[in-house]
């Protein structure tokens, strides 16, 4: 516990994690999140896992935080983003968090990992690569498919559908939502409006 680097980095990491959640400006929250992620990367460096650290920075700072900030900039004027939580709720959350820290921390301190002696051997990059491509190769395939799925999914969601050809009117009408109608009862908002609209169109034809 006497390692000054460790203490500094952990204080910065934890503080910026709290700032990320609590700072009023969302964009500063995102920057604080980036600092937290960098702090984790520095922990990795302290743990002789340089490759993981660099991977962490490349993926998180280079992609994830950029995406988050981009989204924040896109939607930052939206009022519904700034829904505020009540003070009581916040106190409750803090109590839960402290309880978790206390309970799990006590359990941890009681467990025998405190007496573990660190060994000198350091896992190498070659070992990681070998493990990933032999033992974990099916998981690697699954990961590739996961990334493919997320790309396909994100593209489909982010794309603006301009109705093409036959489906034009119908496709657009499908999800359209009329506030009066669907707030009145238990009805499903989306597709029903579409169906109704479509039926009108069908009659016109």
């Amino acid at each position: 516990m006497s390692d000054p680097y460790f203490i500094t980095v952990s204080v910065i990491t934890i503080a910026s994690a709290i700032i990320a959640l609590e700072f009023r400006e969302l964009i500063y929250g995102a920057i604080a999140l980036a600092v937290t992620l960098l702090g984790i990367a520095i922990f990795f460096v302290l743990l002789d896992a340089t490759f993981v650290a660099m991977f962490q920075i490349t993926v998180y700072v280079g992609a994830v935080v950029v995406l988050i900030i981009f989204t924040i900039m896109l939607v930052r004027r939206e009022a519904w983003l700034r829904l505020d939580e009540g003070g009581r709720r916040r106190v409750m959350g803090a109590v839960i968090a402290l309880a978790i820290i206390g309970l799990l921390g006590a359990l941890l301190a009681a467990s025998s990992i405190a007496r573990w002696q660190a060994s000198e051997s350091v896992p190498t990059l070659m070992q990681i690569g070998e493990e990933m491509l032999t033992y974990y190769s099916p998981a690697f395939i699954a990961l590739a498919l996961t990334l493919a799925a997320s790309v396909v999914g994100a593209l489909v969601l982010a794309k603006v559908d301009r109705g093409k050809g036959r489906d034009k009117g119908k496709g657009e009408g499908e999800g359209e939502w009329d506030e009066e109608e669907s707030s009145s009862g238990f009805e499903r908002g989306g597709e029903l409006e579409g169906e109704r609209k479509e039926s009108v169109e069908g009659e016109e034809r």
Binding site: I31, A34, T50, V61, G62, V66, I69
Partner: protein, 421 residues
């Protein structure tokens, strides 16, 4: 209370004396005690077993030969490496030379008549260096200018962005091996670290454009984001075959793997893709959409002025040096070249060996050549449209880099090159 008075000689002398008086006071009351405290309490640095104390320094002034054996250890110290040689000063110097070379080359290519008189007299012995002092004049101008922060700007981010850019660029140069053993941070995953650092640029640019609170910077920032994100993928893919062939992620290891072949001979497509994506990464013509001055004023740089602008430009040119050096390291064999230069000796003590001098020479020449090529591209090409840029990046370059990866794998399996020479 002094009012504005006419300039008279006596006033001038009086003010000079006044100034001297204050300097004297400050030196004697503040600076001297500090110096003494430092001398008494801070242990002097020990280089090569010799304590560098003030006495030794004074001796060196009279008899430089005493210091000769200490030069080499000084060169090898971490501080010197970071601050001077493979580090910041070298890179900044390189960047300055690049700016000058760029101006001259562009002027020659496009028949521009620029400010070429500044420094012409100072460098009368080298006619082509005319206009060199213009750089210093530019620097002074930027230093003297007021930094205007637009109203409604997000000030902390606005101020921090140039600094972060410079730090990230400086981080890049820390990873590049200039000669055998001459690298600041010799980590075993330095190639990945390069990409990690390159990841900071889109983030910072986006934040800077957001913080400017202005339309053109915002457009420029979004363009920069599209461009940097979409060109990072082919950039990484273009480097993949190098990793496959050299079977290491360390830049030093990659250079050492090229003693028999330069990788540009084995994977020329990769070199091409890397060069194009590096241009895009640098936001240089033909990919300078984020700062296209004829469309969106100066893109995300619009609101920056004064020394903040200067810092950003410095970061840009250091980045240009870093990427040229990276190209050299990855494809052109880094420092590898015939050993022909003599070693440097001071008072018969060898400071740099012949091999080191040649290595530094070759590295510098190659890097400069790559940078010059970038400048020539700038001089001869128009800017592309954003949709062209994205289409080229996503379809053509990625496809090319995949072909490139297959070539590398084929080379590996055909036994042309083995894993890790």
């Amino acid at each position: 209370m002094s009012t504005v008075s006419e300039f008279t000689f006596s006033n001038f002398v009086k003010s000079v004396l006044w100034l001297l008086f204050w300097i004297l006071i400050i030196v004697s009351l503040i600076a001297l005690p500090i110096i003494f405290i430092v001398l008494f309490y801070v242990p002097p640095p020990v280089i090569n077993g010799v304590e560098i104390n003030p006495y030794l320094l004074l001796t060196m002034l009279t008899n430089p030969q005493v210091g000769a054996p200490l030069i080499r250890p000084t060169l090898e110290s971490l501080f010197f490496r970071i601050a001077v040689f493979p580090g910041f000063t070298f890179a900044a110097l390189f960047a300055t030379v690049l700016i000058f070379a760029e101006r001259k080359t562009l002027a020659k290519m496009q028949l521009r008549v620029g400010p070429y008189h500044a420094g012409r007299e100072a460098f009368w012995w080298a006619n082509s260096l005319g206009g060199f002092l213009q750089l210093i004049a530019d620097l002074l101008k930027l230093l003297g200018k007021e930094i205007i922060v637009p109203s409604g700007a997000d000030k902390p981010i606005f101020w921090a962005a140039p600094a972060v850019l410079v730090i990230a660029a400086a981080g890049l140069i820390a990873l590049i091996p200039v000669a055998p053993g001459w690298v600041i941070a010799d980590i075993d995953v330095s190639l990945l670290a390069v990409f990690a650092l390159l990841g900071f640029f889109p983030l910072t640019v986006l934040l800077a454009s957001y913080a400017s609170n202005s339309k053109y910077p915002f457009i420029g920032g979004l363009r920069a984001l599209y461009q940097l994100i979409s060109y990072e993928i082919p950039l990484i893919l273009a480097v993949l075959p190098i990793v496959i062939l050299a079977s290491t992620l360390s830049l030093t290891g990659i250079v050492e793997a090229q003693y028999s072949y330069w990788f540009i001979l084995l994977v020329p497509i990769g070199a091409f893709v890397f060069f194009v994506t590096a241009l895009a990464e640098l936001e240089r013509i033909p990919f300078d959409l984020p700062e296209a001055e004829s469309e969106i004023v100066a893109g995300w740089l619009t609101e920056y002025s004064g020394m903040a602008y200067g810092l950003i430009q410095l970061a840009n040119y250091i980045k240009m040096y870093a990427l040229s050096a990276l190209f050299t390291t990855l494809f052109l064999g880094g420092w590898i070249g015939p050993e022909f230069l003599p070693s440097i000796e001071v008072f018969n003590v060898q400071v740099l060996s012949s091999g080191e001098v040649s290595s530094i020479f070759w590295f510098t020449i190659k890097t400069f050549g790559v940078a010059l090529f970038m400048i020539i591209v700038r001089g001869t090409n128009p800017r592309v449209k954003i949709d062209v840029l994205l289409r080229v990046g996503w379809s053509k370059l990625i496809a090319l880099s995949f072909i490139n990866v297959f070539i590398a794998v084929a080379l590996l399996y055909l036994g042309v090159v083995g894993v890790g020479h």
